[in-house]
């Protein structure tokens, strides 16, 4: 229809503009066999990412190297296993009794921020990206007093509220494996909450999501955004929609989804 074809309008070029599964052909109404199996492969990877247990000892070691700090506190939620975790979000938001006692008996000085690293729905994402992000962030926030980092299994975002309160932190930053998408089994989310207390709502948090190099944010990019948010939070003594509303932020910073 158009005379001189614009290369930026060609089908080949359009294909590069979206990660969506476009132009895969068809066999009758069905999907051809190769893309059919591609889909099944992606689904299998995402399903396995959900079920994968987190190697907390290895993560603690990487974290100690990255931060040059004391070993992390190893904690667990009240959800005893993966099946319980998936159906009982309320249990994933609270610590189990031994973990709570561990924190109560720990050395707790008031601090600026607590870092809580959680398996969430993708331990793969947490293992892959959390140490690098923690390192990049602490480099940017010089002079901050941090609580000992915590590593939590079978946890949801809100478990950071209880941990942050017990660690007497002004704010808590939760790094958590996000729900795996078919094309993104290793996406990490970061949730910031000022004055953490049990019962905080999602509207009181700020979120940086899709931390997933090379397709999403790099740890350095995410650390830039988080350092800005954390500095603002400390200055204004709040997080949540009020913090978001007054600043024009990139699309990747938004209100957190239900968690």
């Amino acid at each position: 229809m158009n005379g001189t074809p614009d290369p930026r309008r060609s089908a080949a070029w359009l294909r590069t503009q979206t990660p969506a599964r476009i132009g895969i052909g068809r066999a009758g109404a069905g999907v051809p066999t190769a893309p059919l199996l591609d889909f099944q492969l992606a689904h299998a990877l995402a399903r396995d990412a959900v079920q994968q247990p987190m190697d907390c000892a290895a993560l603690a070691q990487e974290l100690a190297q990255a931060l040059g700090s004391a070993r992390a506190l190893l904690l667990a939620s009240a959800a005893a296993d993966r099946a319980t975790y998936l159906t009982r979000p309320d249990l994933g938001r609270r610590l189990d009794d031994p973990s709570r006692r561990l924190l109560e008996e720990a050395d707790r000085q008031p601090c600026d921020a607590a870092l809580v690293i959680v398996d969430g729905l993708s331990a793969t994402a947490t293992r892959s990206h959390a140490p690098a992000l923690a390192e990049a962030l602490t480099e940017r926030l010089t002079g901050w007093r941090w609580a000992a980092p915590a590593i939590v299994t079978q946890g949801r975002v809100a478990i950071g509220d209880e941990i942050g309160a017990l660690l007497r932190a002004d704010m808590v930053l939760v790094l958590i494996g996000e729900r795996p998408g078919l094309s993104s089994p290793d996406s990490l989310g970061a949730y910031l909450t000022w004055n953490p207390r049990v019962g905080r709502s999602d509207a009181q948090r700020n979120c940086v999501s899709n931390i997933r190099p090379p397709h999403g944010l790099s740890p350095a990019q995410a650390a830039d955004k988080l350092a800005w948010l954390m500095t603002q939070a400390r200055h204004r003594r709040l997080t949540g929609t009020a913090l978001k509303d007054e600043h024009l932020l990139p699309a990747s910073i938004s209100s957190p989804p239900e968690s």
């Binding site: 294909r15 503009q17 476009i22 132009g23 895969i24 992606a42 009982r88 729905l121 998408g181």
Partner: protein
């Protein structure tokens, strides 16, 4: 209080809400809320009590207090006694048989619809097998119009859902072209934006409008952003066909979405003031889903399926073009596996149609649910038989922005081909006019590589 002796046990249900919850087929959300039946025996006991309950009792016993909840007030104040009169003498069990009876056609059901409350509709659904949900829903034809005609019997429309992780206009345009080649987009071309900014929404609204006008596509477009964003976009002169909003079944749950009924009224009036509809003026697009009230801690001790039907009472007050239950999106803590998702999808479609709504379904699941494509094939096929107004069309079933799996363009084509269902009539005529239909009326197989020649993108999209 309700009681029955069954299986050597006395079963006691403290309230109507407890009875309805116990009568519900098992689902994880009701277990999470502590509302599910404690045993299979108790579930059947609840159904037996429910079957003998006069339908009229469901009108007098408000599950969520009238004084505290504007959705309850909407339901009770808007109840049509005349429409209810022919059914007023029935029990819930007899109502089920009336719905199934050969003599009861779709027109009779729609005539009774204004006399039905969500509680009555939810109650009867709990006594129905999947087969019943399909058979009754298939009788009911709910037709709506804006730039085309949706919901006619023998037709299945598709929402073209071209989402992109960064809202890139050309990336979105590529997915729109792919969907159009596959015959999708008659329900709406609707984008879930990654960004929640008004500027980004306006950019996408203009972009979809340019594509629609460039090829005179007889369909409507929508950017699924918050109603407050759409109101600002309308003020700024953006081309808004449909006003989108997620809704739920209680005032408190709606507040968690940042809306109330007056805001929805404002949104509808703003869209109507534009006068853009060419064949009708159904301007609202609502999305719902079981579990949303519970997740907002706004379910008032009511089971998630009943709360879902209360959301339909909100929807019917605004004459929507489309109502979409996004059935498997919420996750396994509300609908655990394929069986629960299939059941919920059929319930929502049936209940919505009884409430007089143009029901579609996002047949979908997440990667942490015990479900896969086979379950989606099952639900899609059953809904096609039940006469669902529309389903989703996502490239390759993989939504790369929202991170879940829905139905694909291929799935829609499968359902149309296998069940003999056709696109919306105006849209089907357009498919023929642009050369996408063969002489036999079937969709021609056109390679994506030829798409930009067949449907050139306007230069303004970049």
């Amino acid at each position: 209080m309700y009681r029955i002796d069954l299986g050597g046990t006395r079963h006691i249900f403290a309230s109507l809400a407890a009875l309805l919850a116990a009568a519900s087929p098992l689902r994880s959300g009701d277990v999470l809320a502590g509302l599910a039946a404690g045993s299979n025996l108790q579930r059947v006991a609840a159904r037996m009590v429910l079957a003998d309950m006069p339908l009229a009792d469901l009108l007098t016993d408000a599950l969520v207090p009238y004084e505290a909840d504007e959705v309850t007030r909407l339901i009770l104040d808007g109840h049509n006694d005349d429409a209810f009169a022919p059914l007023a003498h029935l029990t819930v069990g007899e109502f089920r048989e009336w719905l199934l009876a050969d003599e009861t056609d779709g027109a009779a059901i729609l005539a009774a619809s204004p006399g039905l409350t969500p509680e009555m509709v939810a109650a009867v659904s709990k006594l129905m097998r999947n087969q019943d949900l399909i058979a009754v829903a298939a009788k009911v034809e709910v037709v709506t119009r804006f730039h085309n005609t949706l919901g006619l019997k023998g037709h299945l429309a598709v929402r073209l859902q071209p989402n992109h992780p960064t809202d890139d206009p050309l990336g979105i345009a590529a997915a729109v072209l792919d969907g159009l080649l596959m015959g999708c987009g008659d329900a709406v071309i609707g984008i879930n934006p990654a960004s929640d900014s008004v500027d980004a929404a306006c950019t996408l609204m203009h972009m979809l409008e340019q594509m629609r006008l460039a090829h005179a596509i007889p369909t409507q477009t929508c950017v699924l952003t918050h109603v407050t964003n759409t109101l600002i976009a309308i003020e700024r002169g953006a081309p808004v066909d449909l006003v989108f909003q997620s809704i739920a079944g209680s005032e408190a749950a709606n507040r968690s979405f940042g809306i109330d009924l007056s805001l929805l009224r404002e949104g509808r009036e703003a869209a109507l003031s534009l006068g853009r509809g060419t064949v009708g003026d159904n301007v609202m697009y609502f999305e719902t889903g079981q579990g949303s009230a519970l997740s907002a801690d706004a379910h008032h001790g009511v089971d998630q399926q009943t709360m879902e039907v209360r959301a339909y009472a909100v929807a019917r007050a605004f004459s929507p073009l489309l109502v979409n239950t996004v059935v498997g999106f919420i996750g396994p803590e509300y609908l655990y596996d394929g069986k629960q998702i299939v059941r919920a999808g059929l319930e929502d479609h049936f209940c919505g149609k009884l409430m007089g709504l143009p029901m579609g379904c996002d047949v979908c699941y997440t990667n942490h649910a015990e479900a896969d494509q086979d379950d989606m094939d099952t639900l899609l096929t059953l809904l096609g038989v039940a006469g669902v107004n529309f389903v989703m069309g996502v490239p390759g079933a993989d939504d790369v922005m929202l991170g879940y799996q829905s139905t694909s363009f291929h799935d829609a084509l499968y359902a149309r081909t296998t069940l003999g269902l056709r696109p919306a009539p105006e849209f089907e005529a357009w498919l023929g006019a642009v050369g996408l239909l063969g002489d036999d009326g079937r969709l021609r197989q056109v390679a994506f590589d030829t798409a930009p020649r067949l449907l050139a993108l306007p230069d303004t999209i970049r």
